[in-house]
């Protein structure tokens, strides 16, 4: 049977890369000296799987390399070797090399042999530094051949006496005999002398034994192989039949030295006991030299990878539910079809019911399909342990990274796009947030700083938080800089939050010196823009000396949005529900005009700017121009609030987001468009953009909002 193994390669690579992530994370979590056995076990398992798979699928260089890692991990797992920082670091570096080897194999290029050899030597070094160091015996030393048979036997006599429990191992004496029969002509004599009286007969036990005569000049190994699985579950003896009839009684008993032979019925076999060679095979892992000197023919054999097609691994549960829903949809459809064949008005009720069902199923189906795009955020989080580990070593800081909510599911696009902003933010925390150990101790804090990365569903959003217990943002320094740059005026009475907002301004960096950790390429403004592009928002909160928290809010999915339809004149717009705090009718007495700052209204204890949508969007025939004639929709974005003045509220609905940029381009104040039930297009408001437009119109500095 020929099977094209290449078809499994893609899956093998995917799971191997996942396995590498498991190994990496596990290693990073490992505290030298007191490693959690389960942790080591899961690292071992990952290595073991990669080894098994690479061997099976023909990537022998990978399998050989992984074998060395596995050996080391195995010893750690069994407690035979202490978990040292050195070993962990070497294993981590080996994970990197392994990743390169897998990538090379996937792309069908040759791996970097020098690097592999070097890393392998490192592993061997750690391995050989063990207490139970093995003398480097050259290669597998075969036990001396059974001294028998200078003459090739013409056949074998076999005595096979199963122990009583043999059947309960799932083995079957008849199958074993049949297998021997496959080797040549076989004569079988059954010995029923052990059968107990009926009253003592246990139907699940085995009482029979056999004497077999095989007339075929096969190797003894072939017979041994047949008995390999049952050698501890039976007594068996294999005696050569020599051509001249000069039979020497010399056979190998099956009994291993360790298994006591059952007392009552010792087989009466006249046998000597030369060792069974298989037992003598030294375990390969105890011969590092064998591997090192071993042939490397496989290494160049990296085959062309299974193409670079991007795939997404979907939980089968999700697919099952999808199939269920399609089934329901089909049923509803056929029901409606039948209804339509001879429709009359008296069936109107059933039609309505059917349509309602159709709507429900369609919606459910849509949700399920969206679910397929959802992946756990651990795909993104998984890189951080390594990042923080490496950075803290480089900076000489002690940092513990805590993560929670890794299983929170987010849209695939979010996974792809949120990585870089998060790396930037975590680096910031490590580089600028967490203080060096001595500074922390002096401030009465624990030596080890904590960076906590978390994700959770909150309302209709995904909330990702990066929290550190470092020194916090330097409020005054930021304010100072903001004033220098003309972003704010000294007389502005700004809240802390408004000051922190300044760091999101382009080119605003407070680091006294640009370190090579935080890099210089991107700033917080880019981070914010990336997050805005995902339809999300970012906020920062900080307390000097105590730490900072950065909160990122992202929509659950990028394709669908819960929207509030509003109308202005004859135009309909969609406001993302997540941005809306409330909608109110404002009375003229609540409105106040502030010189230079435009129109504001009082909402409880704050004054919020009023943004007249028909003005900033130039809508000609707005019905409401007097404040009391329309509705004010209070929205929030980027820590700022304002009231959008519109004619009226229409319904709330889920809308499918369509790109305006695909065929046209970006328009300030709009994040996209959607298609309404009647097929017409409605535009979706981008609240931060609307605020920017309003600011341009009123000439307010962007970051300043009013506080009462």
């Amino acid at each position: 049977m020929s099977i094209d193994m290449a078809q499994f390669h893609q899956v093998f690579f995917e799971e191997s890369f996942e396995g590498l992530d498991v190994m990496e994370n596990g290693l990073l979590n490992m505290d030298p000296g007191e490693a959690d056995p389960e942790e080591i076990n899961s690292i071992f398992r990952a290595a073991h799987s990669i080894k098994g798979g690479s061997g099976t699928f023909g990537f022998h260089n990978i399998s050989e390399f992984t074998h060395v890692m596995e050996t080391l991990l195995d010893e750690m797992r069994d407690g035979r070797r202490p978990v040292t920082a050195d070993a962990v670091n070497v294993l981590l570096a080996s994970v990197d090399v392994l990743r390169e080897m897998l990538t090379a194999a996937q792309e069908g290029v040759d791996p970097d042999e020098a690097r592999i050899a070097e890393q392998r030597a490192e592993l061997e070094r750690v391995l050989s530094g063990s207490d139970e160091v093995e003398p480097t015996t050259p290669a597998t030393e075969k036990a001396p051949e059974v001294p028998a048979a200078e003459v090739q036997p013409v056949g074998w006599r076999i005595v096979f006496r199963p122990h009583q429990h043999l059947l309960r191992t799932g083995n079957d004496p008849l199958r074993i005999i049949r297998e021997i029969a496959d080797l040549g002509e076989l004569e079988v004599v059954c010995d029923i002398s052990d059968l107990p009286p009926m009253s003592e007969f246990e139907p699940e036990d085995s009482y029979l034994s056999w004497e077999l005569r095989l007339d075929a000049p096969v190797d003894k190994a072939q017979i041994d192989e047949i008995f390999e699985w049952v050698e501890d579950d039976c007594d068996f003896a294999v005696v050569p039949i020599l051509p001249e009839g000069a039979e020497t009684v010399q056979a190998a008993p099956a009994e291993g030295a360790s298994t006591p032979v059952p007392e009552q019925k010792k087989p009466e076999l006249k046998v000597a006991a030369p060792p069974v060679e298989r037992r003598q095979n030294p375990d390969r892992r105890q011969n590092p030299d064998r591997r090192q000197g071993g042939d490397r023919r496989a290494t160049g054999a990296a085959k062309k990878g299974a193409g670079g097609s991007s795939s997404i691994r979907v939980d089968t549960g999700k697919i099952d539910s999808l199939i269920n829903m399609v089934g329901e949809l089909v049923i509803t459809q056929s029901m409606l079809g039948m209804l339509g064949e001879d429709f009359s008005m008296d069936k109107l009720g059933r039609l309505r019911e059917g349509l309602a069902q159709l709507e429900r199923h369609t919606r459910e189906l849509q949700e399920s399909v969206m679910q397929i795009r959802m992946l756990p955020i651990s795909f993104t989080f998984s890189r951080f342990p390594r990042l923080v580990h490496d950075l803290s070593q480089k900076l000489g800081k002690k940092i513990e990274l805590r993560m929670s909510g890794e299983s929170t599911e987010v849209d695939k696009t979010v996974i792809e796009k949120i990585g870089d902003p998060l790396v930037h933010l975590v680096r910031n925390s490590v580089d600028h947030g967490i203080e060096p150990p001595e500074e922390r101790v002096a401030a009465g804090k624990p030596e080890t700083g904590v960076v906590h990365l978390s994700a959770e569903h909150r309302g209709g959003n995904i909330v990702i938080e990066i929290r550190d217990d470092g020194r916090g943002l330097a409020r005054d320094k930021i304010l100072q800089k903001g004033i220098e740059r003309g972003l704010v005026r000294p007389e502005d009475n700004l809240s802390d939050k408004q000051i922190f907002e300044l760091i999101f301004q382009p080119g605003f960096s407070t680091a006294e010196q640009v370190s090579d950790v935080s890099g210089r390429g991107v700033g917080m403004d880019v981070v914010r823009r990336n997050i805005n592009e995902l339809g999300g928002a970012i906020e920062i909160d900080s307390e000097q000396g105590k730490g900072s928290t950065i909160t990122i809010r992202l929509p659950l999915t990028l394709a669908i949005l819960d929207g509030q339809s509003i109308c202005i004149g004859n135009e309909t717009y969609i406001v993302p529900l997540v941005s809306i705090i409330e909608s109110i009718q404002v009375r003229p007495h609540m409105v106040r005009h502030v010189a230079g700052k435009g129109e504001t209204f009082r909402l409880r204890d704050e004054y919020l700017p009023i943004v007249r949508m028909h003005e900033i969007f130039g809508i000609p025939d707005a019905r409401a121009t007097r404040i009391e004639d329309g509705i004010v929709v209070v929205v929030e974005a980027g820590g700022r609030k304002c009231g959008l003045f519109v004619d009226d509220l229409l319904g709330q609905q889920q809308v499918v987001i369509k790109s305006l940029e695909a065929n046209y381009g970006r328009v300030e104040g709009l994040s996209g468009a959607t298609i309404l039930g009647d097929g017409s297009v409605a535009l979706i408001l981008d609240i931060p953009g609307v605020m920017r437009l309003a600011n341009e119109l009123s000439g307010m500095p962007e970051t300043v909002a009013m506080t009462a």
């Binding site: 049977m1 099977i3 193994m5 078809q7 499994f8 390669h9 899956v11 093998f12 995917e14 799971e15 899961s42 071992f44 398992r45 073991h48 799987s49 080894k51 098994g52 798979g53 061997g55 099976t56 699928f57 399998s63 074998h67 596995e70 050996t71 195995d74 059947l167 309960r168 191992t169 799932g170 083995n171 079957d172 199958r175 297998e179 699940e204 390999e228 699985w229 501890d232 579950d233 375990d283 390969r284 892992r285």
Partner: protein, 121 residues
């Protein structure tokens, strides 16, 4: 009716390979990703053969074999484990737990089919 085989491996690629090979040879194959899943399946139906990996999360192959042997309907069912050459002691542990035999990794589809035929051919 085709003989049914429960294939247990946490590695999707190995599982696919085993499953694909066996199905190609006409067997009915049920897949499970770890011991717990396999045991749950085994409790609801019987199969003609179980092939299990040893190193798996949640429940390893040795434990699975021990648990299966305790199920009345699996008392005599062939239970094979997939081991590597470095797992010599694993074979012994497996045997002690009630395994019928083993297949040494890496193996190719032909070896797999040959071994399967040995127990349920």
């Amino acid at each position: 009716m085709a003989a049914s085989i429960l294939a247990v491996d946490d590695s999707a690629s190995m599982r696919q390979m085993v499953s694909f090979t066996l199905k190609g040879a006409g067997y009915e194959v049920i897949e499970a990703a770890d011991g717990v899943e396999a045991l749950n399946i085994a409790k609801t139906r019987s199969v003609n053969l179980v092939i299990t990996d040893v190193n798996m999360p949640n429940m390893d192959g040795i434990t699975l074999i021990r648990e299966l042997r305790n199920l009345p309907s699996y008392k005599f069912t062939p239970l094979l484990m997939l081991t590597t050459e470095s797992g010599a002691d694993k074979k012994q542990q497996g045997k002690a737990a009630g395994a019928t035999g083993w297949i040494v990794k890496p193996f190719n589809p032909d070896q797999l089919l040959k071994t399967v035929a040995k127990v349920i051919g």
